[in-house]
Every structure is written in structure tokens, then in C-alpha cells.
Amino acid sequence: MNSAPPALRPFALALGLVALVAWPSPPAGAAAPADHSPLPFPLIERFENYGQAEGMPSAKVHSVFKTSDGRLWVGTWNGLLLREADGRFRRIGPEDGLSHEMVLCLAEDPTTGDLWIGTMRGLTKYSGGRITAYTQTNSGLPNNVVYGVDVLGDTVWAATAAGTGALNLKTGAWKLYDHTNTVMHEPWCYSIKGAQHLVYIGVWGGGIIEHDPKLGSFKEYRDPDRDFHYDLVPDDGPINDITSWLSWEDGVLWQCTYFGFSRRDHRGWKTWIEGKSPLLSNFTQFVWPHRGVAWIGTDRGASVTDGNAWANYSLTDSGEGLIEVHRPNQPVERRVLATALANGFVLGIHVDDREAWFATSRGLSRGVFAADNPYQRPATVAEVR
């Protein structure tokens, strides 16, 4: 990444920092510098947006997910959408068996291809065209408000407003985990993610719970300084106890809070906050990890980072699409894009090697990658893993 000789590296770093602070930003729309070191993630060169005019049943889009068979699913304020081969969206609503029209989250069972759908009134399974609703009244689901869902082996995990429910797909038995039978600070669970043999539960106001289903053990990760607004000691743990979302990929745990963003890997915790890092906003509400890169949904757009380099997608006051690229030791690259995210309030993201999808409070956006997409080169073994 760094092109300076080792001996000059401290000087170059200082110069870089000075440049970063003192160098006037190029005006929006100015051409990007010619020689930039390559980024570990693709940049989006334009957005295709889908609003009510394009068939969205509501402006608010909460979640977006592409299943392993390549079909795109979109969770909205008013139903679940399936993108057909011809690009048109087919709506699935309560009249089709969906437990509620307001879809909050989506997850796929990789072994069956079944789609699990968290809604404001229960958990719904879409399997081979059959729709089955699980609610707190017809099943063991702890609560109807399902913020997060994931599938780990034979178990479906649902993060609800009254604890976490685990449905064993072989036996049909439910298990409940909340503040009465775990270390959970409170039962309001916001997200959940399977991580090999572990399950991470994001608890509103309760940090992160690490659960080992085999051992039945629970471990809590809380913000050590317990301060809501300030991260007194950086990188000492989760940046905040209010976990608005979390995700895990390949040994790396990512946490969204309304007061910054955190990562935990084999080296320990790393935290980012707005202003002291390129993080677009402290108000982070969704993260989608892909090949070691976090795609973060915030209230002001989307941040993308591998922990070193950053790319932020936001909107100018006039509604133009703005990209900021932060490379270590290099000036910030700012450009106006031909098109912008449908809205800066990003609630859900799905990224694969070909494209990025964003669920926003004003429609669905597809991020079209620039030509120099690093994912188009053959993936390394680590990337494949």
C-alpha cells in the first residue's frame, strides 16, 4: 500500500497527515488523481434506483438479500418483493401467508435454499414456494417483532423484542434465551449471527452475547467504559452497549451502534467513530461483511472499509451522489457520481462480487461497480474461504 521507502516512512506519514488536514479538498466533481493505490474492495461508479415508480410497494425498504440461486429478495414496509428474471418485482404479502407486511430482515438456509423472513408480526419461512408463518401465538417464537434472523446448521435463530428464539428444524422444538435464563442484560435483541459453532446476539443496550449452543454457555461483551456518548478508551471493547446490528464473517465480528462502529478479530477490538475516522456517521445500523470488507449502513449513507481504506457514499445537500475514498496516507478522493443512493438512510445492504444492493428509507438502490473491480480477478483461497 505504502509506496514510500522504509526510512522515510515516519516522515511520509506525518506529511500525509498534515496534507490530509491542511490540503484543501478538491471541488466536488474534480477529476480524481491519476495514480491511486488499488483498493481491496470495488468502488461504485453509479447507482440504479428503484422507488414506487419502479414497482416498490412503499418508499421504505428495510432489507435486501440475494439467495444462493441468484434471486433477489427485498423486504419493504409493505411486503416482500422477489425480483423475477425479467427484472420485475413480484410482491408477496400477508394475503399470501406472510406473517406481516412489514419485513425487517432476511436470511437464507444455505443447505435448503429456504428464505427466512423476520417481520413486525412473526417469522416467515419461504420454502420452495410454500410460505409458513411462525408467530408468538402459534409457535414457540418468543415475540412477534423479529429484528434479526440467521440459520446455523439445523437451527434457525431469531432475535426478537423479547429474547432470542432457536427453532430446531429436525425436532420442531423451540428454545428461548432472554434475561431470565442467560447473562443477557435485557431481552430486546436486535440482531443475530451464526459464527461456525457460535452464535452472536446483538442486544439493545446489552452489548453482544456470545453463545455456544453445544456448551450452553453465554459470554457478554459490553462497552468497558459504559459511556453512551464518548469512547473514553479506544479499542478496549465494543464501542457502545446499544448494538443496532452485528455480523460475522471468517473470524471477524462487526458491531453497529448509534455511537460508532466496532470490529473484533484475533487481534482484539477496534473501534471507529465519526470525525476521528472516515466513518460517515456514528449512527450505524447495518453491516454486511464481504471478503473481509464491511459495508456499513448509516443515517447519512454507506461506509465501506477493510479497516484501513474507506469509501463513503453519501448525498450532497442538493441530492447529488458523493463518493469519498480514504486511502491510508493519501489525500481523500472526493467525486460526484452520476447518480446517488436513493436515500442516505441505509437500512440494509447485500454485496457480492458483482454488485451491491442498498435498502434505504426512500427506495432500493443497486450499486454498479467500476470496471477495476478487484473481485473480478481470481479469488485467493482465503477470499474463497
Binding site: G129, G140, N143
Partner: protein, 655 residues
Amino acid sequence: MKRRGYIALMLAALMGSAGLGVGGYFWSVGHVRRWTGRPELGYVGCNHCHFVSLEKMPWSHPRPRHAAPAGLAVTPDGTRLFVALDDRDELAEADTATRKITRRVAVAGGPFGLALDPTGERLYVVCRDADRVAVLDTRDLRELDSIEVGTAPVSIAFGRTPAGDRLVVANSMSDNVSVLSVAPLEELARREAGREPYAVALAADASVAYVANRLAIPADYLSRPDAELTLIDPAGGRILARHPLISAHLSEGVAVVPHRGWALTPLIQVRNLVPITQVVQGWVMSTGLAVSQGRDAVTQVPLDEANAFFADPAAIVVDPAGQRAYVVSAGSDAVSVVDLDKLGHWLAHADAATRQDAIHDLSLAAEYVVARIPTGRNPRHAALSPDGRALFVSERLEDRVLVVDTASLQPLGHIVLGDGGAADPIRRGERVFTKAAHTFQNQFSCRSCHPDGHVDGLSYDFDGDGIGDNLLDNRTLQGVGKTEPFKWIGKNPSLEVQCGPRFARVLMRTDPIPPADLKDLTAYLESLPPPRWERKQQLELTPAQERGRRLFFATVTPAGQPIPRDRQCHTCHRPPLFTNRLLSSVGTKAPTDATDQFDAPHLLGIAHSAPYLHDGRAKTLEELWTIYQTNDLHGVSSYWSKHMLNDLIEYLKTL
């Protein structure tokens, strides 16, 4: 003096016995009121609570075992037929030329379904009662290997996929499908199917496994029940599609049609939402065939005729040329021969609306059903010789296999497995139970609504007590012996009354079942045990189930509040049958119900008999207390947490 003393003694004895009588009466009244919480005694007797034990139940007694043929498999060279004899824990081998039994071996656990590998060297046997698949060497019929699968496997199919040889097993009681690798014999996946998966067939290239499910998937109250044809990738168990079979159930067979890409599933088109004001014209149910063409197109066509019905379609086989399908009718003792060229021609020329409505057109079957071959009692399974020239049909309640020449459609003879069991009243009763000839135009049998004596998961509207009123959920007959009175309102004091003239009047619309047959039928019904009861006796409860058990038998709330006796679970659902056989009001009277007093059903196997309550309004056990509980009348549940409810459900599943 002596006489006076004698008189005094007599008077004292008289007064003493009178006192005892009066005291005894008041004590017994108090006792019953104390233990049932009932102010009135009604017809409560000692035997409602006492002198009941599972060992005394008729279904717990040993019964004669019969050589009833189940699954059939013909070797690739067509010389040998294997017959599963589940009731005897045996497998029989017959010479197809001489039609004689050549060997019998013991296979433990109720061998029911069979599959051969393409070489004919390995025979795979699903054992329904032992939840396992056994692998046999067809040279010496030695058991080589065995693997546990889901609950009550009944059907198995072999397929050669790019990922390796696979076995797909339908587990009827756990509502799922096991996908096994053959070498090594391992369960790769267990996938949810529809309700009661009962038959499996693989496409010729093993790219798809078609799974027919016997019951409709529980639906919302008074909504249409649909069954399912589940399409699974045999290589890894991924769900490919789930084809809804609209308003259908009792699919016990499935076959793939070579060269056409079809899957054929026999079914009953049920009409339980329509009040039973008549039977004529298939008003209650009729039989049909679901033709699945590709991913989405499923057309149901009738197998019945305008004035003749062929109840309880079970197995289906298709000849190697894909020109004929043979569908056995277990209730009407016939094989319907379907000309697939004619059916294909009709399908090609019918518009979408006509195809959608076809199943209701009773004059249509004459277009493609070219023959009906009579069989012995209760044909259930079928197989074709590899060249398609010989059709083998298991006449289950005759202990025989019928062999038919498919060129002439004439019988060639029988492979005799047993004596038919005519001396056994239970076997005779099963013949009555499965016989459609007791209903108008052979439209259905007892088994049509009670497969294996269990439930079909549907509610019906009998018109005898008013059209649209008093809907009734179909109750299980498994474990029903000695749980009188019968019917939800406890109207029938005995099974003879339940199944006698009243039944002929409201449902069969023919002559009543003759008294001798009715007696045999009762013997059969009383011989039906609750599902898996012996095994459940030995179950060790998990912590959640144990917590649920304590809740079931709770007499006080955790806060120390006493629970009224008449609203403790175990008062009305008293062990060991988990019923006190009395009527109770649990706050479930609907505006269309004539009474709020309903019979307390036994709970043995309750987890398998959804939906619940007298009219089937509760789709799951949870809904009994989350949606349909009124003022704590159906047990005091207002103090339960979600944890407690889930624990109780887990306990109920163990009964």
C-alpha cells in the same frame, strides 16, 4: 328377653347400615366434587378416575400378526419379487414365474417400503416401527448395515446422482425426508416435507426426488386444506420446489413418467368446507390424479366416474414406455388403468381454466381411464416387472399378491403369503374399516378420513344438526378403545353406536354396516394403539419436558396461588389415558355450536393430531392457550410465561 335383644340388635344393625349408606353417599358426593371440581355429579362414576391402566386397554394386548404385504420390489432381471411383511417383521422372496415363496427372513422393526439398487444386489428396507433403513444382500438376504432415519419411514427410493448414489426416505411421522449416501451409509440431510410424507420417486436422471405427502398442511380455520408434492435435490437435499396439491390429501403414491417429465400423484380431492348435505356426485370427496408437468404446472384430473367411485387411491406405477399408469384403489379393490397418451392429448388441448376445474368433472375420467381391474381386499402397493409385462399388486388384507398380465389386463394368479386371517375379528374389522362398498357408490371408506385409524387433520360440517352449525374436527381413532363416550359432544356411548345406523344416515347414505361387521369393526378400532405408546413409556424427559410435566400437574401457581381443581390440566386429562371421559366446558363454544359441553379427548399422541379443539379452530397446541383460551377455563394459563408454555408443549409431545 332374648327376643327383645334380638330386635334391638337388628334395629341397631339397620340404623348402622342406614347411617353407613347415607354417610357413604355424602362422602362419595364430596369426594367426586372435591376431585372433579364439579358441583353436579351427572353420571360420574368411580371408573372415570379409577381402575384405568394402559395394560388393561384392548390395544395393549397381543393380537394375531398377519402376513400382510406392504412394499414390493422386482429384481432387474424380473425373476424375483421381494415383499415387505411389516406386521410379521419379515421379508419374503417370491419366484415371479412359479408365483411361489422361495425365502423368508426376519427383518426387525416393521419392514414397510423397499428399494433395489440397479444391480439388484442390494435391497434397502425402511422399517416403520424402528425408524431405520436396513441394507440387505439379495444373495443371502443377510442384513449388512442399518441407519437411523426420521420417525416412521414408509417409503424409499434409490438414485444415482453425479454426487454419488443416494437413498431418499419419507419419514411419515416426523414430516421430513432423509437423504442418505449409500457408500458410506450416512444421513446427509433431513428436510422438512409436507405433512406425513408417504411416497418417494426419483426422476430417471436422479435430478429430482418427488415426495408425496399424505395429509394436507394444517391451514387456518375454515380455509382450504392443500397437500404438497415436495421436490428435493437427491444429491444434497436442497428444496427445489413445493407443489401445492389444491384441496387434496391421502396421497400415498407417486410415480415419474418416463419420456414425459411428469410426476403423477394419486389423491383424494376433499370437500370438507362444503356442508355434507349429500354424498352423490362426489360431494364429500372424490379421487384424482395430480399431473405435475415441470415446476409450476400441476393439473388434477379425476379417476372417478359419474356413478362409480374408486376410493382411497394408494400406489401408482407407470410402465417403462410411459404409456400406462396403474393406480390401485385400496377402498374399492380395483386397479385403474390410465392411458397416458390419451391423458397427454387431453392436457395438450385443454385450456388453463378447463384444467383448473377438471378434478370436479366426473365425466372426464372416461377420456383416459381405459380399464378397471378388480383385486382382492385392500390393494395398497404395486410394482411392475422391468419389461412392464407383469403387474404385482399387494392385496394387503388377503395376505396375497395379485399378478396381472398387462397385455390382456387379466389376472395370472396370486402369490400367497398367508391365510388371509379370516378367523381374526381384528383383521375382519380392518376389512370393514377399509371397505368403500359400505358407502353410496363406493365413494369412501372409514380409512379415507382416518388413514391408519388416525386423523386427516380436517373439520367437517355434518348437516344432521343444521347446515353450517356444529363443525367437527376429525378425532383420532388410535387409542380410542375404552374412552367412551364418543363424538365431541359425548353422544355415543359405544363404538357400535358411533359407527352404526346414525353413521349410515349422516354420511354413508346407504344401509348400515351389518351387526356382525360392526362387531368386527369395533374389535379393530379397539386394537389401534396410540402412536408409539410403548416407546414413549420409556422416554426420559428432557429438562424442558420435565418442567412442562410439572406445569401439567401443577395445583398451585409459582406465586402459591391455588389452581381450582376443575381447571388443573390433569383433572380432565387424567393419566394414564389423559382423559376422565367426561364433558367439560372450556370456553370454546362458537356461536354456531349447540352446546359448550365437550368430551375431554385423550392426549395420547396429541402432538400428531392437529388441529385441536372440537371444531379444529386451533392450528397448533400453542393456540389453545394463546388465542382460544377464555378466562382461564381451559386450564389456568394466565400466569404462564412463554418459557412455561413452550415447556408444556414439549411435555405434551411426549404423550
